[in-house]
Amino acid sequence: MIQMFHVYKIYPPNYRAVADANLKIDKGEFVFVIGPSGAGKTTLLKLIFGAEPPTKGQIIVDGINTVRAKTSTIPLLRRRVGFVFQDFKLLNHRSVYDNVALALEVLGLKKKLIRKRVLQVLKQVGLLNRINAIPPALSGGEQQRVAIARAIVNDPILLLADEPTGNLDADITKEIMKLFKVINSWGTTVVIATHNKNLLSYHPTKLIVLKKGSVQGVFVSSHKNSGSFVPQNVQ
């Protein structure tokens, strides 16, 4: 699903957010990216998403080389990828419903179909009662759940979630992680960036540890749902 070859991201003037990252994430995996604040987790996810171009190296997502791809293919890729942004990136002048529906509207679906699917997802994240509110009128945790709903509403083949539970309490975190597990079990590759080591109890298939922009190690679960990791050599 995702392959990275010697990827560097150097922000101007000379700030190495990601250095020489080599990764391989297969279809259907459930991956955690962990590391301290400023380690480059968000940058790594944005690189995969094509939201930032790498300074060096190649990235292949779902068979598409995002570095060399035409600009018109990036939107097509994004319609099949869900992204929960750390800062949510919600439309502040649109209702919760509209924000989530947007991800389906870009697919050109019919209004009725959109409505059904949006309500279904909003129910899953527990926001049916805030459906007409605009994001500035939501609590932090509610905004985060809108972002999650938007990311999963279009049944993405790849879900990138950046600190998706940073504003959620333990109970809702459990709900959301269960949801991600379900989505993953249906075949969606899930990559979650977090600093919260508690989440490791949710049995990732792969654990990528970042520090100061470098991949410190990639640990692969020795057998499914074991929760123990062995180092893996990436090509």
């Binding site: 094509g50 319609r79 919600l90 439309l91 002048h93």
Partner: protein
Amino acid sequence: MIIRKLVYFTAKAIQNIRQFLLINLITVGIISLSLIVLSSFLMISLTLQKYLDTWKRQVPVAVYIKDGLPPDETTAVRQKIMNFHEVEEVSFISPEEAIRSLQEIFPGQAHVFGSLKENPLPASFEIRLKVGYQSPERLRTLAGNLERIPGVDEVEYAKDWIEGYESFFNFVNTVAWTIGTIIVFATIFIVSNTIRLTVYARREEIEIMKLVGASNLFIRIPFLFEGIVQGLLGAVLALIALYGSFRLCAGWLVHQSFLPLQYVQISFLPLNYGLFILIGGMATGLLGSFFALGRYLRVS
């Protein structure tokens, strides 16, 4: 499919206008005012030109006839004059009429002219020309041709006056075109940059749209619709405001004793100018949105 998309984008545009109501009102206001300046200028320069045109129409050409020409030959001269296609109207001025008008011009010397033993003035034809034939060159050629008619002694017209007038007209014309062009460019610049500012205020929206995989077209179309609606609304408001103040002003001006109104009717913008304003407003709105977006659509 296409209809569904059209409905969708129209709905989006309306939603946008309502959600960014203040911004939209300001934009419409600015477009409207720019167009008011532009079209009140148009209207007034049109009126002025009409006014100058009536002046021009009054330029008479006098064709003096040889002394003692028999009546039938005089009629023949009249016929020949009528054959010039520039000529609108011909009237005969007998020597008596001529001296009477001279007496009117110099009322103090009425007795002097009255005491003349012999009327020194010749008979003449006064010609009024059709519109568009009053330029100095045309008049010169026409005068030359008229002079060549047998029985005609001399042709006279207010040569200095017509040349002075012509240069004045050219001057006013140049001025009108200059200001007009400045105003048109200013309007386009102001409207497109106003839209640019509104797009700037909404750049995050565009960014987010891109992040959920919207194509450039998908993002652009509602903005373009919005631009068209803004431009159209602005133009309509401008025309309404103009028409209202035109009715007020026209009513007031008629009661003022300004001379020009005896000759000219101030008229509202002709239909094609009104259409020009409408289409111009829409086009500026559309193009303004189009170019304003460019910058923000280019980033991934």
